[in-house]
Each structure stands twice: as C-alpha cells, then as structure tokens.
Amino acid sequence: MDYFLTEEQQMIKELAAKIADEKIAPIAIEYDEQGKFPHEIIKILADSDLCGVYIAEEYGGLGGGVFEMSLVVEQLSRACGGISLAFAGTGLGTFPIILFGNEEQKKKYLPDIASGKKLAAFGLTEANAGSDAAGIQTTAVLAGDEYVLNGTKQWITNGGEADVYTVVACTNRSKGARGFSAFIVEKDTPGFTFGKKENKMGIRASCTRELVFDNCRIPRENLLSKEGMGFIVAMKTLDRTRPGVAAQALGIAQGAFEEAVKYSKQRVQFGQPISSFQAIQHMMADMAIQIEASRALVYQTCKFIDSGAKNFSKESAMAKVMASDTAMKVTTDAIQVMGGYGYMKEYPIEKKMRDAKITQIYEGTNQIQRNVIALELIKELAGK
C-alpha cells in the first residue's frame, strides 16, 4: 500500500529499514539472549541523524513529529522490538520536554537527544501504581531553590542507560492527581540511583530498571510546566507516544510475517512447499489483512496528531490496541506456520512472539485503552 509519504519520510523509512536489515537483524538473537543494551546501534542511529527525527530543527532535530518517530520505530522493530525500544523509550522521555518544557529546558536537553549523544527515559510507574497511575507515592518537596525527591519508580525503560529522566512525583498529596508535578532529573544527580535490572520475557535488549530517589536534590528550574501539572504532562505525553508503541507492534508483526512467508516457500512437506496448502495461505492472508489495517490506522493517527489536533486520546488508544493485538496474533500464527522450527530459538520467530506481548501491556494496558476509548465515546454521545 502506498501511504504517500513525503520525500523526507520516505528517506527516513528507507534508512531505518537499511539499519534494521544490515545492522540489527544479524545481532538480534544474541542481544536477546544476553540481554545486552544496543549501544552500537544507538551510535549508528545517531550518525544517521535518526535520533532527532521528532525534534524541532532549531534544537538540532529534523523537525518531524510522531509520524517520523513511528516510521523509525516500525522499521527498527521489524528486526528487533527490544533494540528499537532504546529509541522509542527516549521518545517517551523526551516528549514531556518537547510539549511542556520552557525555552531554557528545551535548549539545554533537546540538542543532545537529537544528536543521539544522550538517551532519555520516562518514570511514572511504581510498585503500587501501574494502571492506576494516580496512586504514585514518590514525593517532591520544595526546599529553597531545590526540590527534594524521595521514592522509587519501577520498570523504567532505559533506566540506568539514559542521561535525562522525566519523572512524575507528588508535590501536594492532599490534591491527589492534581498535586502531581513533572521534573527533569539528570543521571548522576546525588541521591539518584538505579535498582535491580529486570529479567524479562521479551524485549530483552531493552533495559528495564528501578529509579531510586533518596533525598535527591534537583534545581527548582527542572520543574516541567507548573506544580500540579504532572498528571496532565504524563497523560498528554502518553497520548502522543502510544502510536510509537503501536508502530513497535506493527514492526514486530511485519517482521514475523516476512519470516513466515519466506519459510513457507522453502519448507516442503508431502512433496510440496507448505505455502501450497490453503490452510497456510489463509493464515498468511489473515496476517497481511491485520497488518495492513493496523498500519493504516497507525499512520492516519500519526498524521492526525501531527496536524495539530487537540484531543486524540481515543485515536491514539485505538491505534495502540489494534496494532498490539495484531502483533500478538500475527507472531503466534507465524510460529504456527513454521511449526516446530518456529518454536526453536535458532529462528528469530519465538523471540518476536515474546517481544510482541509487552505492547499489549505498557503505556497503558489494552484494557485501560479500551476504557479510554469508551469514555471518549460516551463523552461524544453526551455532547450531542
């Protein structure tokens, strides 16, 4: 399908695809097995200018938006959904600054992220606050010219590897979610350390860690937006980055699909390639239908967001649910097409199924996304 990408988007997509095929695919299995963080790939992405596709030109980026970010994530994820997350997780950590940062904050942090010199991360989730993000316990107390942070964030992508962290904490507990504020915390700030590295089912080349704040003092000017805006910063950021998760899912699905099709032409049973069996053909047709439908929704959502739309929670949630459910289904069926070989670690397919699962969980589980969609539908109905 031709999605009428601009010349620049086409270039971005092709270059990301080249990096995926030539540089990521050959190492994906090894990085998965060893849980290695892809520093070399970050360097390649940096040299190719892709780290800054979604950052404005005045801060050293290419001036694109969510669409450009998603194109890169999709292509990289075709080869490895874990390695692509170093890039996508940085997007998640950077959007709060792009959306809510003041000029000084943008000037200070965005150029190094655009050039790939620094990675970013986003810390919202805590042990007792997952879907119910309003339950966070981490506190930030203003003391003179500094905020003092205390608490522990859990399962933070790029934890320990990123240099810039956007973190949500309570500045006024009595106000509930309206008492949250968002802050920029730099790595190596005294009182800021990293807890255990998680041993995960999939996306194992991505680093998921705790952020531990123990009387961590940060300058007052690291507050993003205003006190009390933390929850809004988080929600607006996630609305904008969910298409990135959708693109990750889409890439994983596409990669699995390509692998399965290739295999079906080579594998001979009963004297013929298995691709000649209608049962296999229909599975492949279904995969292709679901992938293309997801892609259409994801791309259109990206374009809608980048056009300057104000409210796109529903669309963004739809894209994420659709693409991630597709990724789970397609990767499962891709293994089915490949039979026992698909189940073995020698082939990169079982990994794709493990990688796909997370896309139904993080940045809001698909159940929560459906809640969001339904709530928006009810609001729309009430407005009529």
Partner: protein, 264 residues
C-alpha cells in the same frame, strides 16, 4: 588534505550477463550500485578528512545515470563530485579509462591523495588505479589494508599480500587502492541524503578536460574482446557406497585410474 576518490557504477548482481553479439555487459534491467570496493575508498577518504580536514572530491566516468551514485557519496559526506561524461568516452577499456580519469583529476587540480577500490566487481581487472597513477606521474601502492600514518607530504600504509603485509612509505601526492579489510563503510545520514538530493554533480566533457579524443573511449582502447562466454559447469557426480573402508578403497582406485595420483 585534499582527496580524490574514483568510483565506478556497476551492476548490483554478481552474475554479470553478457550480450553475445557486442561482447559487452548487459546493464539494462539490472540495478546499479557503487562498486562495493569503492565504498571502502570513500569511507577511508572521509575518515582522513575527519582527522586532518580538507576536501573529498569523488569522480567517475560514465553516462549521466552515474550521477545517482555520485550523489550517494554526498549522502555519505563527500564535498564535491565530478562526472566525466561524453560520447567520446564510451567503450573505454582500462587504459582509456585511466587516461580520461587522469585528465579529469588534472582539472580538479590540487590533490594530495587518490583512493580507488582494489578492483571493480564487473571487469575485475584492478588496472585503472595503478594505470591512473602512472599517467599522473605519482607513486602508488595497491591493496592497502591500513593507513598507519598520513600527514603533509607523507603516507605509510600496510599493503595486503598473499602471506602477510608489506609496509609501504610514499611521498604525497600518491594513489592507493584499498581492500575491504581497511574499514567498515558508514551508512548515509538523513541530512546527507537531503544535501545529496539538492547537490549538483559537475559534469565535464572531453573538451572540458582537454582530453585527446583519440585516447578516449573505444578509439583509445587497444583491448579487443575476441570472445566472451559463460563457463559451462558440467559436473558429473557419482556416489560411492559401502563402508568407510570400501569407500576409501574405491575412491583411491578411481583417482589412480584417472591418474590424479600415483601409487609409490
């Protein structure tokens, strides 16, 4: 340090198809790429420039379509590109090609180093680089796998040989051809690709470079292709059965029979 890199556009396939009547390579319908060995030459020039400053100019001889390959090198970081293109250049062998390139490089003028790939994957002669250096009257060395030192007027490099390497020192300007062990070529950058889109390739004709047309193209090519043919792979195989011992005995008998070996 001003560096000139010579590149050639070649068919992307390793299975070159020939036109039996004209004895030339069929280029239609085959995707064109930069000769893979030349990518190492481009990469090395960029690395030298990154260290020492200066300018990288990439030159090629061929039809207009070669502009795409030259622009690709701008995407990688080359500063300037030159295409030598003229009807008079058509049908050139390695002698005529190196003459034409030498005239083009004379027009570029100020250079310290010329880098070529060790050979092109279509013709496989490995002659153009050295021949070009002779025409320019500068020293050269081939199969460079590492540049140990390079500075104003001086280069020391390791030249790959069959059983090791030689260390070669030369004054500059000089010409080297490089092998794939020398580096790992980079991928382009988006900003580079956008620069490439807008870039204008300098296109020079025979007159622009004061070339003697009798020394260019088919006219200047003493090489005559008498006949080309695709080697026939006519392999007959026979499976030898039996225990390992029996198999070995049967194989030995056969080899003796065929007089591939003798029994002492």
């Amino acid at each position: 340090m001003n560096i000139v890199v010579c590149i050639k556009q070649v068919p992307a396939t390793t299975e070159v198809k020939m036109n039996k009547e004209t004895n030339t390579i069929i280029r239609e319908g085959v995707e064109s790429i930069i000769n893979p060995f030349d990518m190492y030459a481009v990469e090395e020039s960029l690395r030298i420039r990154e260290k020492l400053g200066g300018k990288v100019t990439v030159i090629s001889m061929g039809p207009q379509a070669v502009c795409d390959s030259l622009k690709e090198t701008i995407g990688l970081g080359a500063d300037d590109t030159v295409l030598l293109s003229d009807r008079a250049f058509a049908g050139a062998d390695s002698l005529a090609t190196s003459y034409t390139l030498s005239m083009g490089i004379k027009k570029i003028g100020d250079f310290d180093l010329i880098i070529c790939g060790k050979q092109a994957t279509d013709g496989d002669t490995a002659q153009v680089g050295p021949s070009l250096a002779e025409k320019l009257g500068i020293p050269h060395t081939t199969y460079v796998r590492r540049i140990e030192e390079i500075k104003d007027g001086y280069i020391r490099c390791q030249r790959l040989t069959e059983d090791g390497y030689e260390v070669v020192e030369m004054p500059l300007p000089a010409m080297i051809t490089v092998v794939k062990e020398i580096n790992e070529p980079r991928l382009p950058s988006i900003k580079g690709m956008m620069r490439a889109k807008k870039a204008v390739v300098n296109i020079w004709s025979a007159d622009d470079i004061n070339a003697d047309k009798n020394l260019c193209g088919l006219k200047g090519s003493p090489t005559q292709v008498v006949k080309t043919f695709v080697p026939v792979h006519d392999v007959q195989s026979e499976m030898i059965e039996g225990t390992s011992e029996e198999q070995a005995q049967k194989l030995a008998d056969k080899l003796l029979n065929m007089q591939f070996m003798t029994c002492k």
